[in-house]
């Protein structure tokens, strides 16, 4: 082979490597949870969204790539659980949220987050009881949308509760708390929501891993 052919060969190899790396990088970049549209009932002025979520101590291998990480799941109208934290919601619509909380408590780092804010009436119901503040040490996670001023602390399952769930997605027959509240979505926009409890086991300050990865403890409300 002449040196020109060799050089060209190497050049082509380098170009192919570059393109592959480009695809690899782009492929990684595009990876992330896909948006999910919770079921909507009614229409017009009486339209409401049913957002049913569960939080688990360990997401489990069936739906998540990191089975030991805490995770949120969202339910569709067929009662199937999806691993997505990017929820598409219509604007200016009432959203009724039901959260099945299967995880034990870790306690809030900042007890300020234990006061319910931003929901209709600034209250939530926990297992049927209406309350507007939670004991900060009992919080397992929060559902908070800071841009909307919405913070709801989620009560944890007691340590000595029977029949605790192991890996998610958890069945309703296992020990859990049921929290409900409602809020009205604002205008069009992308609002991030996150958990404020340092619940990422094993990570520094409890805020690594699932707490910093979309799909587990953080997500977006895509209000359209």
């Amino acid at each position: 082979m002449s040196s020109l052919q060799k050089l060209l060969g190497i050049g082509v190899a380098v170009a192919i490597a570059g393109v592959l790396i480009g695809f690899y990088i782009t492929g990684f970049l595009m990876s992330g949870p896909t948006a999910f549209r919770p079921p909507v009932s009614g229409s017009g002025a009486s339209k409401t969204v049913d957002l049913t979520i569960q939080t688990d101590a360990a997401g489990g291998p069936t739906l998540t790539a990191n089975p030991s990480w805490v995770s949120y799941f969202v339910r569709d109208e067929n009662k199937q659980w999806h691993h997505s934290t990017i929820w598409t919601l219509p604007a200016h619509t009432r959203v009724n949220v039901t959260i099945y909380q299967f995880d034990g408590d870790s306690g809030l780092r900042n007890p300020f987050m234990a006061k319910v804010r931003g929901t209709l009436g600034n209250t939530m119901t926990v297992n049927g009881k209406t309350m507007n503040v939670l004991n900060p040490d009992d919080a397992s996670h929060t559902f908070a949308v800071p841009a909307m001023g919405l913070i709801v602390p989620l009560e944890g399952v007691a340590d000595n509760a029977k029949n605790q769930c192991g890996f998610g997605p958890c069945a309703l027959s296992t020990a859990h708390q049921t929290i409900t509240f409602s809020f009205v979505t604002p205008g069009k926009g992308r609002y991030r929501w996150q958990c404020f409890v340092p619940c990422a086991a094993g990570f520094l300050d409890g805020f690594g891993g699932p707490m910093q990865t979309l799909g587990y403890m953080d997500g977006f409300l895509d209000v359209t």
Binding site: S106, R109, N110, P111, F112, A114, K115, R117, N132, V133, N135, P136, A144, P146, A147, G149, R192, Q194, F196, P198, C199, A200, A201, G202, F203, L204, D205, G206, F207, M211, Q212, T213, L214, D218
Partner: protein, 284 residues
């Protein structure tokens, strides 16, 4: 102009362009330079930026005029030739003048910056601030004491504690106008930075550290808050809108907040200059 040598011509062009440039900057740019006049400190910083900009205009003009002139006048017109120029290896007088001149400019800028710093225009000063407001600046301090506000950074929201208003914590940043405010910035987990551009305030929030900054807001209105230190996934979302309101509106707001968050105030940890993350190391 024809009787001046190259050096003289460059000097004249430079003088003209610098003067015009400085006048334009002073008239059009200076009033809109950041950070504006939202606070006493911001005004000091804006003036500082003006001075720096004027000096920059002079230096830029010097380099641009010199290079523009020499590259045009001394270019090789015959592109095929490779004729050498004169063998000038240096000039001690010019070198000395330059060294002395640049040193003077630099020392002036450093001194001026320190002067502005003495006025408290330096953002976060750490736990032992050197530049504290003098008690005699009574015009802007009806209480003769700064209002203490603690800024708590956490991933990924700023919250604020007002120890002198009942020790409540709020997610809203509200300040009374014309009141000296002593901000204590700290973090609960990683490094954040509390940046309010309109007030000329930036103070990093480090865990376990109390970073003190002084601000005297002068204008009523909304102010943008940004986190200016990468703190993880939602760093870009850690922004908010604060408000500077009149003194009476502030008191009313404080009273209503006190009442609204009262269920949780008793659960807050005792007010301290810093709070170490708890659990301290690995969760769960």
């Amino acid at each position: 102009m024809r009787r001046l040598g190259h050096g003289g011509r460059i000097a004249v062009i430079w003088l003209l362009s610098t003067t015009v440039g400085m006048v334009l900057v002073a008239i059009f740019l200076a009033p809109i330079l950041p950070p504006g006049n939202g606070s006493k400190q911001a005004s000091g910083q804006q003036f500082d930026n003006e001075v720096l900009l004027l000096v920059s205009v002079a230096i830029t003009a010097m380099i641009v005029v010199y290079f523009g002139y020499t590259l045009i006048v001394f270019r090789e017109r015959d592109t095929k030739a490779t004729v050498d120029g004169p063998s000038i290896r240096g000039n001690a007088g010019i070198q000395t003048t330059w060294v002395v001149g640049t040193t003077i400019v630099v020392l002036f800028l450093a001194a001026f910056g320190t002067y502005e710093l003495l006025g408290g225009a330096g953002g976060g000063q750490g736990a032992n601030p050197v530049f504290v407001p003098s008690a005699s600046a009574a015009v802007l301090q009806p209480n003769h004491k700064p209002l203490q506000v603690q800024v708590i950074g956490q991933q990924w929201q700023f919250t604020f504690r007002y120890p002198s208003e009942g020790g409540f914590e709020s997610a809203s940043f509200v300040l009374p106008v014309n009141q000296e405010v002593e901000l204590h910035v700290t973090s609960l987990d990683v490094i954040h930075s509390f940046w309010v551009p309109a007030l000329g305030l930036k103070a990093d929030a480090n865990p376990g550290v109390d970073n003190v900054a002084y601000i005297t807001p002068k204008k009523v209105g909304p102010v943008q808050i940004h986190c200016a230190e990468l703190c993880g996934l939602f760093h870009g979302y850690m922004f908010d809108t604060g408000h500077v309101v009149s003194q009476s509106a502030f008191k009313a707001w404080a009273a209503s907040q006190r009442q609204f968050v009262s269920p949780i105030t008793k659960d807050l940890p005792k007010y301290d200059t810093h709070y170490l993350p708890d659990p301290p190391f690995r969760a769960g």
